[in-house]
């Protein structure tokens, strides 16, 4: 998912469309052997008011996502390193990456006693994909055969010239999805996709009990799931604007079994008070630190902090419609920009080490990541080379410097400082005028990007939905992709993505995806900036805490003292 704001300093940054799957699995935490945790004690964790009723397929922001991920379990889960492990799936097989057969473990139940069968998944997925149900994550089923029919919309142009789309499905269920018997799901994709099964741990694919499909809104207030936790009270334990309380689900027997008695998510509209609460042991764990604490958290919580790289990265996009960056001269200038940015220093000084310089278009924690993709030397800081490339470009076609080069960004999420640093890099190393183009709100920048009217560059970020290289390339850079707002298009790149998806093995797929990155490094539709690490701090009441591959805290793994 794209990040709307880089640091979620405000609760309102609920507009952050991060989908965190706090999944993980397998064995316990390292060094946790001597620690004796109290398995019945409830821990408290930082959160904020979820944006939507808690339906898995409708939850695409971080605060709802972290609750949904505790309440539900899917066919697969991700271990702390992002490796998918089976949860409810007995087996997931395919011979051609297009037709998949999934065996569902028998005997698992929702906490209301309803059995989970193959049909449960089929119904839940059809519900999520049907356009009239207006589920935010419905598009996660776009690779299934028949998705086009259930997601069809009608486009109308009003008297004012504005087009309006309304859902108009031509079928109620996806033709490629069926339950052969109680334990077998068969899935046919519209095209081969080798990494499709990696997605099955993502929240959009969670099963729903039948009551959810009848009255989704009511269900979303007090969801009944099958995950490591359940709502603390039968009547619902979501106190709006205040907290959500979960207790351990004793019937859950998957890789994410809870080591504590429950989790109470306390809502904060600002990370500052939460940090203070942690200092007073009034809150147990937070993953959102106030920006002024980034310098001090290791000394404020000497033995109670951890930092881990996560699957989130950031780029500086250079729109193809900007005449200064078109053609041969444009290509040289794109490279010059990249060489001119001192990523190392900005990561250290501006971000206090919570970023690491990027080495590719996907972060290192993703399986299949390669550190030495040909062409990625452009990410090194080399002011002399930058100057030289810029001069070469000037000979081909002079740069239109009548207006300063602007970098558009919303300024409510702590972006101002690093953009100013980058702009200074451009000024000092290329001799051009550069500045931030500030917007109060993320939506304003998005409007400019959607309408292809950015005067200069823009920042962009991406958090992995599921641990796959493709997830960092396809939705962002493929022709016509949903988040490819600058409309980058290169048929060779698209072809390699397609080949990667059709690959028989993960290794083969990764090779193709890394090959595709070489094309990105040649075209530089955006310049990779840095990858994220996620600092956490915890109170004296818990043994330790850690985050998973995507930065979500592994709440189930936290032991209370």
């Amino acid at each position: 998912m794209r990040l709307s704001r880089m640091s979620r300093t405000l609760g309102v940054a609920a507009s952050v469309a991060l989908a965190l799957s706090a999944c993980g699995g397998g064995s316990g935490t390292g060094g946790g052997t001597q620690a004796t945790g109290d398995p019945n004690k409830v821990i408290t964790a930082y959160s904020n008011e979820p944006q939507n009723p808690l339906l898995p397929a409708n939850t695409n922001e971080v605060y709802g996502g972290r609750v949904v991920d505790q309440l539900f379990a899917g066919l697969r889960a991700y271990d702390p390193n992002g490796k998918p492990v089976n949860d409810l799936a007995e087996s997931i097989d395919t011979t051609d990456s297009q037709t998949w057969t999934i065996k569902v473990k028998q005997g698992s139940k929702f906490t209301n006693g309803e059995a989970i069968t193959a049909k449960t998944f089929v119904d839940s997925w059809n519900f999520a994909a049907l356009s009239t149900n207006l589920q935010n994550n419905g598009f996660f089923f776009e690779s299934l055969e028949g998705y086009d029919a259930v997601s069809a919309v009608k486009k109308e142009t009003g008297a004012d010239g504005k087009t309006k789309t309304t859902p108009a499905p031509t079928a109620q269920t996806m033709s490629g999805l069926s339950a052969k018997d109680d334990s077998t799901i068969t899935v046919k994709l519209a095209q081969p996709e080798s990494d499709w099964s990696l997605r099955l741990g993502y929240s959009a694919f969670y099963p729903l009990p039948s009551e959810a499909l009848k009255d989704p809104k009511k269900f979303g207030e007090n969801p009944v799931g099958n995950g490591p936790y359940k709502m603390a009270k039968d009547t619902g334990s979501w106190v709006h604007d205040q907290s959500i309380s979960l207790v351990k689900n004793p019937d859950y027997k998957g890789p994410r079994e809870a080591k504590n008695g429950g989790v109470t998510f306390k809502f904060y509209t600002d990370p500052g008070p939460a940090y203070t609460d942690l200092q007073a042991d009034n809150l147990d764990v937070t993953d959102v630190l106030p920006s002024n604490a980034l310098k001090t958290y290791t000394s404020d919580f000497p033995d109670r902090n951890s930092t881990k790289p996560i699957a989130t990265d950031s780029t500086l996009n250079i729109p193809g419609y900007n005449p200064n960056f078109q053609g041969d001269a444009g290509k040289l200038r794109r490279q010059a920009l990249s060489y001119a940015i001192n990523r190392e220093e900005i990561a250290k000084v501006v971000f206090n080490g919570t970023r690491t310089p990027a080495t590719g278009y996907a972060p290192p924690v993703i399986e299949g990541y390669k550190a030495d993709i040909p062409g990625n030397e452009v990410l090194k800081y080399d002011p002399a080379k930058a100057k030289d490339l810029w001069a070469q470009a000037e000979k081909i076609k002079p740069y239109d410097g009548s207006k300063p080069l602007q970098i558009a960004s919303n300024t409510d999420g702590g972006n101002k400082e690093w953009i100013e640093a980058v702009a200074n890099n451009f000024k000092n190393n290329l001799g051009i005028q550069a500045e931030i183009q500030p917007f109060a709100k993320f939506a304003e920048v998005l409007n400019l990007r959607k309408s292809q009217s950015l005067p200069g560059l823009t920042r962009a970020g991406w958090q992995g939905d599921y641990p796959s290289l493709y997830n960092f390339l396809g939705p962002v850079w493929a022709t016509g992709a949903s988040s490819n707002y600058e409309k980058y298009s290169n048929p060779d790149f698209d072809k390699l993505l397609k080949e990667g998806l059709a690959a028989k093995t993960t290794q083969e797929a990764s090779d193709k995806f890394n090959k595709a990155q070489e094309i990105l490094f040649k075209d530089l539709p955006g310049v990779p900036l840095w990858d994220y690490t996620r600092p956490l701090v915890w109170s004296n009441h818990v043994v330790k805490a850690e985050s998973g591959w995507n930065g979500a805290i592994l709440y189930y793994n936290i032991q209370a003292k």
Binding site: R2, A14, D241, K266, P273, A274, T276, L446, G461, W462
Partner: protein
């Protein structure tokens, strides 16, 4: 008297219409599509966005939106906010919390402000008077957020006398710390106002007459000096109540109080017209009623003031 009150209450209607229209317009004029802003770069299908826009009437012109809001208001239906929660339920949840905070802050500033001010005024030029004058100047000069953070750290974290934040347990005890912070600045004003008023009244003819009549000192101070000194103080406190209800944004933010200030701040950032206007409408009512109460108190404090219709 009754007719006077009724007339005052009728005045609420134009005030209410004017303020809500103004507020609605200002929220509407905020740039950016509030629905698109709910999502990150990865937007849901356009049909989802369009359905949401239609649900909140954002596809309608501004005046139509405001008209729908008014129409719904008369049927006591405030609609739902951007998190799909009924706004009426939200108001019912957040206003008691902020009301508690405001009442507590008002009580603190009124009781201590008047007591300290009276004492300082009666012993003008004394050590207590000078100390209090300097201290109140310091309190006025320090911004609320600084006071808030210092109190939070000292009493919440280091001394552990109070919970550093309020959160879900918004009761009288937990709200005391933010209420002190919130009430402190106004406390200084109340103190200074009372002191000045007391000093002025001490030399008034009726005080001299009362003393000459042989009334006891406490009776002179309470019934004559204090009562007559209360008029400017009550005016200030009345105007301040509305301010406390709405102006708690900073304090509520620092102490994570789930009240009006926090909600108003978020709703404004998200461009949630209906929520902002609903909150502001209630605040307008509080303001008007508080001022009415002040006017009625005048009559009690100074029998020469009478309201006739």
């Amino acid at each position: 008297m009754i007719r006077y009150i009724l007339r005052r209450l009728l005045q609420v209607i134009p005030v209410f219409l004017g303020t809500t229209l103004l507020v609605y317009f200002m929220v509407f004029a905020l740039p950016g599509d509030p629905i698109a802003a709910l999502f990150g770069d990865r937007q849901p299908p356009q049909s989802v966005i369009d359905a949401l826009r239609a649900q909140y009437h954002l596809d309608q012109p501004f005046l139509v939106q405001y008209g729908i809001f008014l129409k719904n208001l008369f049927t006591l239906d405030l609609g739902v906010d951007f998190t799909q929660q009924p706004i009426a339920a939200t108001l019912a949840r957040i206003f008691p919390v902020t009301a508690m905070l405001a009442v507590e802050a008002l009580a603190i500033q009124a009781i201590f402000g008047v007591l300290f001010g009276l004492w300082a005024g009666l012993r003008r030029g004394g050590i207590f008077d000078s100390t209090v004058l300097i201290a109140s100047l310091v309190v006025i000069a320090v911004p609320t957020f600084v006071l808030g953070f210092v109190f939070q750290l000292v009493f919440g974290v280091y001394l552990g006398w109070a919970k550093p934040t309020v959160g879900a347990q918004a009761d009288w005890g937990n709200l005391l710390l933010p209420a002190i912070v919130l009430g402190l600045v106004s406390f200084a004003y109340v103190l200074r106002l009372t002191r000045a008023s007391v000093i002025e009244n001490m030399n008034a003819d009726y005080v001299r007459t009362a003393t000459a009549k042989g009334l006891s000192r406490p009776r002179v101070v309470l019934a004559h000096i204090l009562r007559n000194s209360m008029i400017p103080v009550v005016t200030y406190l009345g105007a301040n109540l509305g301010g406390l209800m709405g102006g708690a944004i900073v304090t509520e933010g620092i102490f994570n109080v789930p009240g009006v200030g926090n909600k108003l701040y978020q709703a404004t950032l998200r461009g949630e017209g209906p929520t902002v206007v609903a909150i502001v409408s209630v605040l307008v009512l509080v303001f008007v009623l508080a001022n009415l109460l002040v006017d009625l108190l005048y009559a009690w404090l100074d029998p020469r003031i009478r309201y006739e219709a």
